[in-house]
């Protein structure tokens, strides 16, 4: 008897399936694809921040040899505005509102000719007053930026549970501070690009790096006034996403307009400078936080007000309050909480979604206050947090229900591994002592949600090779490999037996896109559902063929086996071939649609929005040079409640990458915008963290085995970037006794703060002032 050993891939270090291809330079990104007959598109952007366009003359550009089409807003009369507020035409006509504004576009034989043509377009502007500050935008009588919003308010959010006045009355300690969070940008190593082509029947094929192909398809159909069924989106491998490709942007629409006008395929790829100028940023925020607690350390209330700079048009950045309020209301147990946000139009660039989606900003403020309150009541930062941390089973004021919750384990694990308490006390005691370099340690935690639904189609061929068709795109995060692992686990097959197809809307089932750390959880459950249906079908067929009852069969190592003994009964491939060639030919092809058991928020933003919640605690250690203000991040200890580790290699990589992205947010990255202009659109002046600067990283996984998760797993993609800046602020304070309320912690800012010459951020809404 041949016994087949059961082998599992779950929790192992599984190399990404596409790694060999990528490491050998064979992967074709959007930049590497050329289609025959293709023209190059280029966009002319505004030379002014806020101005009326008096005149555009494209005649000289049109006359340049090699130029096929030059378009302005006048050539596309009925543009349908895009964006969250539908306030954004792709080509701007009579007015420009920020330096990104697209006012003309060229399609030419080569990139160089297209570029040369841009220089020949004449534009006459009439300057308008520039509003570069959201506070100024809200002042009575401020110039209007977007005609449909005369008060310059793009959005408002109001959230409350409990009664903060009562909470305040019950408090022994109350603290209040303002915080200021800056612009950073995604810096995907592969710049943005798209190829648009129409076939002879007018069907549109887009080669696009969007993270939301199905939503895109619908939007494009509306923009072009055609049936969505005539649009196909193919996604080549992507050179980094991090949330940047979650919205539809003018360049994509412009490429389509150009292709339609030229009747030729058009490829449009950004330069790095253009990427800095025109791709989305993280949402900048001014935030005022008032929090209180009792002497025993229990939180009493939290009252938050934020002002968001919307920029000139509304993209996803404006909706980050959805996520921010979850941290305010539910990271810790807060009986009374109030949150108000105003999102104000300005002439600045607009923010999009960016890994963590508002949570870095909210966590920065909340965790700074957790340290301040702990200090005020004489508790150590860990004990104070444990006193207020959520437990499994908790239903929060916002209506979230934490089925699995490893928060306290995260706190304890990160603190223990890093020797947090002893070091914190030691560094604190050393604050007053001499020495140029001070060491500090800080702690911060986070809660993050995930959601959406996902479909899977799964097919087995007559060699027992599986094709998994999923709407969940691979954006470098390794979802492909994780999904394949989950399917292999169900069907007892090696990883090499699976191909994942996830990049073509004509093939893959509908999906809401890659975001909100949702792929492992949602797409994973969907893939498992499809695989289980396939397995049931196979075992039923095997039972019929062999006479062994279904319940006693299993799939292991490419064979149908007796579940109890592992004895091989029939090779899976052979069984499948038998099915295909029998007179009642049958294909093993299944579909599954997974919708998580979460509920939509009500009007007051309450509801159990996520089927599972991810938790993490990170401890950051720093060295602060008192003479230069240079902060060096020496070590990060992270404890992550990931439900269960599916691919250890992949999850470590996600977390390490997130930690270093958080390090950049905290210390080096700063997109400087002055009077609406981007001052540092290059890697020379926008400092990403480099290999020698990374901290030592020690990661622990808390496996809470979420009941709803695929094999118990929860999402993790966004979590690691979220607490780093907050923990760094606490570490700097532990090292020096000085708290800084504004990011990033550049040497200059830190030095000034240490010398006491930095003005403290002080912001109040007009209503409160």
């Amino acid at each position: 008897m041949t016994v087949i050993e059961r082998a599992t891939l779950i929790g192992k270090r599984v190399p990404k399936m596409d790694a060999p291809e990528k490491a050998s330079g064979k992967t074709r990104y959007i930049h590497d694809i050329d289609v025959s007959g293709q023209l190059w598109g280029k966009i002319l952007r505004s030379a002014r921040v806020h101005a009326r366009i008096r005149r555009i003359d494209t005649s000289r550009a049109k006359a340049l040899p090699g130029v096929h089409v030059v378009l302005t807003a006048a050539d596309v009369p009925d543009q349908r505005p895009i964006g969250v507020n539908k306030d954004h035409p792709a080509l701007k006509g009579d007015k420009v509102r920020c330096v990104r504004d697209e006012i003309a576009a060229v399609a030419a034989d080569t990139e160089a000719i297209a570029q040369a043509a841009l220089a020949l377009i004449e534009v006459e502007y009439e300057d308008l007053p520039v509003i570069a500050d959201p506070e100024a935008a809200l002042a009575p009588g401020a110039p209007v930026i977007n005609e449909k919003h005369a008060d310059n308010v793009a959005m408002r959010f109001d959230y409350a549970h409990g009664d903060v006045a009562q909470g305040e009355a019950e408090s022994d300690v109350v603290v209040e501070d303002s915080f200021k969070l800056h612009y950073v940008t995604h810096c995907c190593m592969g710049v943005s690009g798209v190829i648009a082509e129409f076939d002879a029947s007018g069907n549109l094929l887009l080669h696009s790096n969007t993270q939301v192909p199905f939503l895109h398809k619908r939007e494009f159909a509306e923009i072009l006034g055609i049936d969505p069924g005539r649009i196909r989106i193919v996604q080549p491998p992507i050179g980094g996403g991090f949330g940047s490709k979650l919205d539809i942007y003018p360049f994509e629409i412009i490429a389509v307009y150009l292709a339609r006008a030229a009747r030729r395929p058009v490829k449009l790829v950004y330069t790095r400078e253009e990427e800095f100028l025109a791709s989305p940023t993280r949402q900048p925020v001014i935030l005022r936080l008032r929090s209180g607690c009792r002497k025993d350390g229990s939180l009493t209330f939290r009252s938050v007000e934020t002002l968001h700079d919307n920029g000139a048009y509304t993209s996803w950045g404006a909706t980050t309050p959805f996520v921010m309020m979850q941290t305010f209301s539910s990271l810790y147990r807060v009986p009374h909480c109030k949150y108000h946000t105003t999102v104000a139009y300005t002439n600045n660039p607009y923010a999009g979604s960016f890994r963590g989606y508002g949570n870095l900003q909210a966590t920065f403020a909340v965790e700074s206050h957790m340290d301040k309150l702990a200090e005020a009541v004489g508790m150590d930062p860990l004990a104070f947090r444990l006193r207020n941390a959520q437990d499994p089973g908790e239903v929060t004021g916002q209506g979230m229900t934490f089925k699995s919750c490893g928060f306290k384990d995260c706190l304890r694990s990160a603190a223990e591994r890093s020797g947090f308490l002893a070091r914190h006390a030691e560094y604190r005691a050393a604050q007053g002592a001499g020495g140029r370099v001070k060491r500090g340690i800080g702690i911060a935690s986070m809660l993050h949600v995930g959601g959406g639904a996902c479909g899977t189609i799964l097919k087995l061929d007559d060699f027992a090779h599986v094709t998994l068709m999923t709407g969940a795109s691979e954006i470098g995060q390794g979802s492909e490999t994780v999904l394949a692992q989950l399917v292999c686990e169900e069907l007892g097959l090696p990883l090499s037996a699976v191909t994942v197809v996830n990049n073509d809307t004509d093939i893959t089932p509908w999906d809401v896109g890659v975001h909100a750390s949702r792929t492992t959880f949602i797409a994973g459950n969907s893939a498992i559902g499809a695989a289980r249906k396939a397995k049931a079908k196979i075992l039923a067929a095997a039972a019929k063929k062999t006479g062994v009852p279904e319940g006693e069969l299993d799939l292991v190592g490419g064979f149908v086996v007796r579940a109890a003994s592992g004895e091989a009964i029939v090779e899976l491939a052979k069984l499948l071939r038998g099915l295909h060639f029998s007179d009642k030919a049958e294909l093993v092809m299944t579909t599954h649609y997974y919708e998580p058991p979460s509920v939509h928020q009500d009007k007051g933003f309450k509801g159990d929005v996520s089927a599972a919640y991810a938790w993490a605690t990170q401890v950051v250690e720093v060295e602060v040079d008192l003479d230069t203000g240079i902060v060096k991040m020496t070590k990060v200890t992270g404890a992550h409640d990931v439900g269960r580790v599916i691919n250890r290699l992949g999850i470590e990589g996600q977390i390490e990458g997130g930690v270093v992205m958080g390090q950049g947010y905290a210390l080096t990255e700063n997109l400087v915008i002055e009077d609406g202009r981007v001052k540092n659109p290059s890697f020379r002046d926008y400092k990403l963290v480099t290999a020698p600067e990374i901290p030592e990283m020690d990661l622990a996984f808390i496996e809470t085995m979420d009941g709803e998760g695929p094999q118990g797993a929860k999402g993790v993609g966004e979590a690691p970037a979220i607490c780093i800046a907050a923990a760094t602020a606490n570490a700097i304070c532990n090292a020096t006794g000085v708290r800084i309320y504004e990011l990033p912690f550049t040497p200059e800012k830190v030095y000034r703060a240490l010398k006491g010459v930095a003005p403290k951020v002080a912001w109040r809404t007009r209503a409160a002032a």
Binding site: R13, P15, K16, D18, A19, P20, E21, K22, A23, S24, G25, K26, T27, R28, Y29, H31, D32, A112, H186, C187, C188, M189, G190, V191, P237, I238, G239, G240, G241, F242, T271, R272, I475, G476, Q477, G478, L649, G650, E652, G653, E656, G657, G658, V659, V660, M661, S682, F683, R684, L688, V689, T690, A691, P692, I694, M697
Partner: protein
């Protein structure tokens, strides 16, 4: 448009000629004229290392090199390493150690790592980190890339 110049050089072991504009970068020549897209454009100004190539054995940013300056020299791109055992060792190590995520920086990293290993037999971690300083990666946080280079160095020694 500036006029074209005819150059001759050895590319990935094969002598070849190309007609290039005087203002064209080696990166543009490789990608747009010769169709070798493994060398990536990340910034075009020598800041990211995505365009790393080897010229007469030294690693250079192809975006900063004029195409005409390749004349008479020996140029190696990621495609040219397909049969190189040292590069294969590195590529395997990158995959096994999880050093590849979106992969956009990877060809440049592999070439640069190859140079680090060629220069120092058994580089320590700090040497590897310094050697990779000019290569940006937004996805991995570098740790697994450093792990991979270290592992490839050990494997070579073994």
């Amino acid at each position: 448009m500036s006029r074209s110049v005819e150059i001759e050089f050895r590319l990935n072991g094969v002598v070849r000629r190309a007609a290039v504009r005087a203002d064209m970068s080696a990166l543009a020549m490789l990608r747009d004229v010769l169709g070798l897209t493994g060398t990536k454009y990340g910034c075009g100004e020598g800041e990211c290392g995505a365009c790393t190539i080897l010229v007469d054995g030294a690693s250079l940013n192809a975006c900063l090199l004029f195409a005409v300056d390749c004349d008479g020299r020996e140029v190696t791109t990621i495609e040219g390493l397909a049969n190189d055992p040292a590069a294969q060792r590195l590529q395997r190590a990158f995959a096994e150690h999880g050093a590849v995520q979106c992969g956009f920086c990877t060809p440049g990293m592999v070439l640069q790592a190859g140079r680090i290993l060629a220069r120092a037999g058994q580089p320590d971690r700090a040497t590897i980190q310094r050697g990779l300083e000019g290569n940006l990666c937004r996805c991995t946080g570098y740790k697994k890339i450093i792990d991979a280079v270290e592992a490839a160095a050990k494997e070579r020694a073994a």
